[in-house]
């Protein structure tokens, strides 16, 4: 929008508004209520509900304010008898065929149609005819559909298309028989549930939460997602100590993700109250013996003794401390403090898939926020697969391209789904991402790099040209494929590409909700990586203290590593491949049970808030670590309060200085950590190193031409999604059931496979 200002007159008052402003936004901004259903900011205009009618002088009919761009001197009336009649009549039309049985509707109590009816509905129903009927059904294990309640605002189809790039649902039928449905009767899509979220009525419903609770019974807690590094803000709905559902509804939450969540954030929460959660601390008194329930005091004392003994026998460096990119900053900070100040070991690390330390150590430009991505002019994506691993980033990219005319350049060995939106796809041979960065580092490397990657050299010069012709923001994103030297070069690329009219912003794509925070807390500064520690068990590493579990890729090929340890203590939610070898298992509280912070891939430090009391005897990770420290004679001074831990973080870690929980209070105003932006670095040695890397790469390799299936990385994000029975169904290819009609409500019992409830089955 331009900075030019024009005058409009609304209800006899003059206002100055920016040129290009949309009338409905202006009216609302100035305090004039305009009812609407179909208008949704940053989605294609629909103009179909006809609720937002206003009178504009010199125009023949009432006008829909959602479609009008203000012009200078425009005279607008938003309230009059004529307008009120029109708006009331639209609501009357919408309710004509509507069941109006809010008490049994899952959306009752948080329904926009219901709210609008309070304001604009009539007292009497003039419609005395028979209502149209359409049967309820499940569209997928996640999405239930009660088409009678639909007002055809098509928010759902638009988010599916514009946010998700899926186009999986569309209206079928015509006129009053129109229903929102699928292509082929069964919804095959990413199951993000955003269509459910934006639906203003009880039409699309969370199939996993149907008839479980009423919204007014739920305590709503604003928190941050515990899955990927995008860090969506969300509302945890709990009742009596049970987490019932997660939504992003912006009436509760107004984070940088708006109403967006992905399948994991929205549906991946059943692990919290899962029956397999650990109930008490467990001690295995004898190697090969059983884990036996213990009290917290016993477990802490036992662990402290064992750690002390190992340190005494082999020296402190024989003790490894392992943090996690899944747990809070507070937890990782406490572990780092424990490693460095209590044990005094130089061997500590977090169980992340890759370390961003080389990137942050050489950071040459600010991190892009997700908002920056939406308004970027050019986006360069090197490796990675955000549509699977950082879905909010993928949504921002799609909207930047389709609603903002940004150019997307994808460098990947696989035609990932985002390629569909790309202005340029540089299809490289597998494993060649480092070569691409080497070429970006200096144009003289382009020819050699192109040969290795199996592309034409002019593809790289075209990419360079797109960047240097950009006016506005260039966002460079990269996945875990880059080695340390390549990360350093990417971190410094801004120095060669920025200009007066062009900002360069960086967006790393780590995998986990607190990958960045684990790095910030110093957990990546240790002498050994997690893999190196595992390789050294039984020799230089004798005991491990682990919060969370090792990743499957860490344990793969190292099945014996944990057995070689003298002692292994683990904080966990469940029994895992790691706890199978543990001498002590300490039940940790999940993100829903604790206070803390996560730092996302924008560097936003966001609050995690306690929604339910810790399940069984679980405790927050930082509290367990502090108890162990106390047992070993060190008072961490945390005074049982997460905010005290965070205060210490802010005092000790420069990027977090000045932050306090109250500063992070408002999720609609997220705070970015202040990372040090370094002076331009001499990159010659990094480039040289990369040159060696590139030279060692093979000269051939098959490029994949297969676009990966939606959801193929669903399980990558750890063991927690494993606890969602519906996810197993999706992993099995989301098979279409014989019948999904639900009248009376036909239950789909999904427990790894589809089972009919005998009592209500039959068509």
């Amino acid at each position: 929008m331009s900075t030019e200002v024009i005058k409009v007159n609304i209800n006899s008052k003059e206002f100055e508004v920016p040129k290009g402003a949309r009338l409905i936004d202006v009216c609302r901004d100035k305090g004039f209520d305009i009812p609407s259903f179909c208008y949704y900011s940053d989605l294609a205009l629909q103009a179909s509900c006809r609720m937002c009618l206003v009178r504009i002088e010199k125009m023949p009919k009432l006008q829909t304010s959602c479609t009008i761009i203000c012009t200078d001197g425009m005279i607008v009336t938003t309230q009059s008898e004529e307008i009120e009649k029109a708006q009331r009549s639209m609501l009357e039309f919408l309710l004509a065929n509507h069941p109006l049985d809010c008490p049994v509707c899952d959306r009752g109590g948080e329904c926009e149609l219901q709210e609008m009816t309070f304001d604009w509905g009539g007292l009497e129903e003039r419609f005395i005819e028979k209502k149209n009927y359409a049967p309820e059904k499940y569209l997928s294990p996640m999405v239930a559909n009660d088409p009678q309640r639909c007002i055809l605002c098509k928010r759902c189809t638009r988010v599916c298309d514009e946010w998700m790039g899926e186009d999986a649902i569309e209206a079928g039928g015509r006129g009053a028989n129109t229903v929102i449905g699928t292509y082929g009767g069964w919804l095959d899509c990413s199951q993000c549930g955003n269509c459910i979220e934006v639906c203003p009525t009880g039409t699309l419903l969370d199939g996993t939460y149907r008839h479980q609770a009423r919204p007014w019974e739920l305590a709503q807690t604003i928190s941050t997602c515990s899955y990927c590094s995008d860090g969506c803000e969300m509302s945890l709905g709990s009742r009596a100590g049970e987490l019932m559902r997660i939504v992003a509804r912006d009436r509760y939450v107004n984070g940088h993700n708006g109403e967006f969540l992905c399948i994991k954030g929205r549906f991946g929460h059943p692990f919290v109250n899962h029956e397999d959660r650990l109930r008490t601390p467990l001690i295995r008194y004898k190697k090969g013996g059983k884990l036996i329930p213990a009290t917290w005091d016993e477990a802490i004392r036992y662990t402290a003794e064992k750690l002390k003994a190992a340190a005494a026998a082999y020296g402190p460096d024989a003790l490894g401390v392992v943090g996690s990119p899944r747990i809070t900053n507070e937890a990782n900070y406490a572990l780092h403090k424990f490693a460095t100040e209590v044990v005094g070991t130089k061997n500590y690390a977090a169980t992340d898939a890759f370390s961003l330390k080389p990137f942050f150590d050489n950071l040459g430009a600010p991190l892009a926020t997700h908002r920056d991505i939406r308004y970027a002019k050019t986006i360069l994506l090197i490796g990675g697969e955000p549509e699977e691993l950082q879905p909010l980033t993928a949504k921002q990219i799609r909207q930047a391209v389709s609603n903002g005319a940004a150019k997307l350049i994808v460098i990947n060995s696989v035609p990932i789904r985002l390629v569909e939106h790309a202005a340029q796809f540089i299809h490289i041979r597998p494993g060649m991402e480092n070569a691409a960065v080497w070429a970006l580092g200096h144009s003289s490397n382009e020819t050699t790099a192109a040969q290795k990657m199996g592309i034409e050299a002019n593809e790289l010069s075209a990419l360079r040209q797109t960047i240097t012709e950009t006016e506005g923001d260039v966002v460079i994103m990269f996945g875990g494929e880059l080695n340390a030297a390549a990360q350093m070069i990417v971190a410094q690329l801004a120095n060669s590409f920025r200009a007066d009219t062009r900002r360069v912003l960086l967006h790393p794509l780590p995998l986990y909700n607190n990958s960045v925070g684990a790095h910030d807390m110093g957990m990546m500064n240790g002498a050994m990586s997690v893999a190196e520690m595992l390789d050294a068990t039984g020799s230089s590493i004798r005991a491990l203290y682990v919060a969370g579990s090792f990743l499957p890729e860490h344990l793969r090929g190292r099945e014996e590593a944990l057995a070689k340890l003298d002692f292994l203590a683990v904080h966990e939610l469940f029994e895992t491949d790691t706890t199978a070898f543990a001498d002590v298992v300490l039940p940790a509280a999940s993100f829903a049970e604790i206070d803390g912070t996560f730092t996302n891939n924008d560097g936003l430090v966001q609050r995690v808030r306690q929604s339910i009391p810790p399940v069984h005897q679980a405790k927050p990770d930082w509290m367990i670590t502090a108890a162990l420290a106390a047992e070993l004679g060190k008072d961490f001074g945390f005074q049982m309060s997460a905010s005290a831990v965070f205060r210490e973080i802010a005092e000790r870690i420069p990027a977090y200085s000045g932050l306090r929980y109250p500063v992070l209070k408002d999720e609609s105003n997220p705070v970015q950590a202040r990372y040090n932006i370094v002076e331009p670095r001499d990159l010659s040695s990094a480039l040289n190193e990369l040159k060696q890397t590139v030279a060692a790469l093979p000269d051939d390799g098959e490029k994949s031409n297969v676009t990966p299936r939606v959801g193929h990385e669903l399980f990558k994000i750890g063991t927690l999604t494993d606890k969602v029975s519906q996810f197993h169904l999706l992993a099995a290819g989301n098979p279409r059931p014989d019948t999904v009609r639900v009248s009376p409500l036909y239950q789909i019992t999904v427990d790894a496979k589809l089972e009919r409830d005998a009592a209500v089955s039959g068509d």
């Binding site: 009919k61 009357e92 039309f93 006129g175 028989n177």
Partner: protein, 433 residues
């Protein structure tokens, strides 16, 4: 069935009675493809548009928008391709003229489209018909093939630098796909929903490129305009309604058919009682819907002795409009409640479902009609229907909503006795004529 001109030399219908009138040969022997030759030999695109403006030709699809003006809205400097799309959806109840024009004289449409394509710089052009007109596509395809073989289509038309293509396409048979923006959505392969205007198709139409959508009869008028000159064409009709107009006459007359009349033909009563052979079985005239179902229904006493001129201004003055020229005559046996119920069922069936008032309003109205027809009418139902129409009219996304409201509004106001019969007590709803 009568097909022919009354009160003027036939232009549109000049060749329809000739043997083999579909063939390129017959078309050429009877003045065909001379207009495009004249255009390519001696006229600039602007010259063509100027002639169109002088001709006072108004779009025959229903809205009556001046064609020359519409063509002049196409931005010449746009780097995008431009398209001419012929609207051959002809789904307005009571309208069947386009079908005869295409069936009997397909080359006239091709020539009109070529001239339009030349004037607008379009290289790709489409003829979009309703699904039920499948057989017309076959006829058009044969004609297009003939034209192509004769160097009248493709590159270097008639040996000049001008070249363009015309393709045919059918919808699936939805009334809404006659609305120009819905037609474009359908042509692009999407659901047939109308799009927001502005931007108008002339600026952003097919594939978001400048597009002119014209009715068949509008385009078939173009060759004659070029041949005789815009001014001469205009003079066949009136100042604001130039040329001749083809009417589809149906209903209770002795001679239904396709009639070409000069614009401003005097008068409607004579047309019905003499030209169309008078009322079937000598019955009394009761009502006329002069312009396809989407216009106000007229009472006989708005026509008899009223000297209604048959052109845009004349029929508006008499209380209705030209619309698509679907002229439906009803005698005294017709129950206007029933005929209006029938039309409302049509609109309900054809409402595309995009917007609230039309989707829900037509559904509700049909239910009210059915309830009344089943004997459960209430005195307040007429008022209810009028109020529902008022809540639709002017508030719907596209004109279909208005089109559904107008027949009911005019029927209740002009034929209250037909509604009264079905309701328990009388309606006092301000009967106006």
């Amino acid at each position: 069935m009568f097909i022919g001109a009354i009160g003027c030399e036939p232009l549109q219908l000049a060749r329809v009675h000739l043997e083999n009138s579909r063939s390129l040969d017959v078309y050429r022997k009877n003045g065909g493809y001379q207009a495009i030759k004249k255009v390519l030999d001696s006229m600039s695109p602007d010259d063509v548009i100027n002639e169109l403006k002088k001709s006072a030709l108004r779009g025959r699809g229903g809205a009556g928008f001046p064609t020359g003006m519409k063509w002049s809205f196409v931005p010449k400097d746009s780097p995008k391709p431009k398209y001419v799309v012929c609207n051959a959806d002809e789904s307005e109840p009571g309208t069947f003229k386009d079908r005869y024009l295409m069936e009997r004289d397909p080359h006239m449409l091709i020539e009109g489209m070529l001239i339009a394509a030349y004037a607008l710089g379009a290289k790709t052009n489409y003829i979009y018909t309703r699904g039920e007109y499948r057989y017309l596509i076959d006829i058009m395809d044969v004609a297009l093939e003939e034209a192509r073989a004769a160097g009248l289509l493709g590159n270097k038309i008639l040996g000049t630098e001008f070249g363009c293509e015309i393709y045919t396409h059918t919808g699936a048979g939805a009334y809404i796909c006659g609305e120009e923006t819905a037609l474009l959505s359908s042509l692009e392969g999407m659901r047939g929903h109308p799009r927001m205007k502005p931007p108008f198709p002339a600026v952003s139409g097919l594939y978001a490129a400048p597009t002119v959508v014209n009715n068949v009869e509008t385009l078939t008028a173009v060759p004659d305009i070029i041949k005789m000159g815009g001014e001469a064409y205009q003079k066949l009709g009136t100042e604001k309604s130039g040329g001749t107009k083809v009417w589809s006459v149906s209903g209770h007359v002795n001679r239904p058919g396709v009639y070409e009349l000069p614009m401003g033909y005097d008068d409607m009563e004579k047309f019905i009682m003499e030209d169309c052979g008078g009322m079937l079985g000598g019955k009394q005239l009761k009502a006329v819907i002069p312009g396809g179902s989407s216009v106000y229904i007229m009472r006989a006493d708005q026509i008899i002795g009223k000297d209604v001129r048959m052109d845009y201004e004349g029929i508006v003055a008499a209380g209705s409009s030209v619309g698509s020229g679907g002229f439906i005559v009803m005698d005294e046996t017709v129950d206007v409640f029933e005929s209006t119920k029938n039309l409302t069922e049509f609109y309900k069936h054809e409402s595309c479902g995009w917007c609230t008032p039309c989707r829900e309003g037509t559904d509700w109205l049909v239910k009210v009609f059915k309830r009344i027809a089943a004997g459960h009418g209430r005195p307040e139902d007429a008022q209810l229907m009028l109020d529902l129409c008022d809540n639709i009219e002017g508030k719907s996304f596209c004109p279909l909503g208005d089109a559904a409201a107008w027949p009911i509004q005019s029927a209740i106001k002009r034929f209250p006795e037909d509604f009264r019969k079905h309701l328990v007590t009388s309606i006092d709803s301000g009967v106006s004529t």
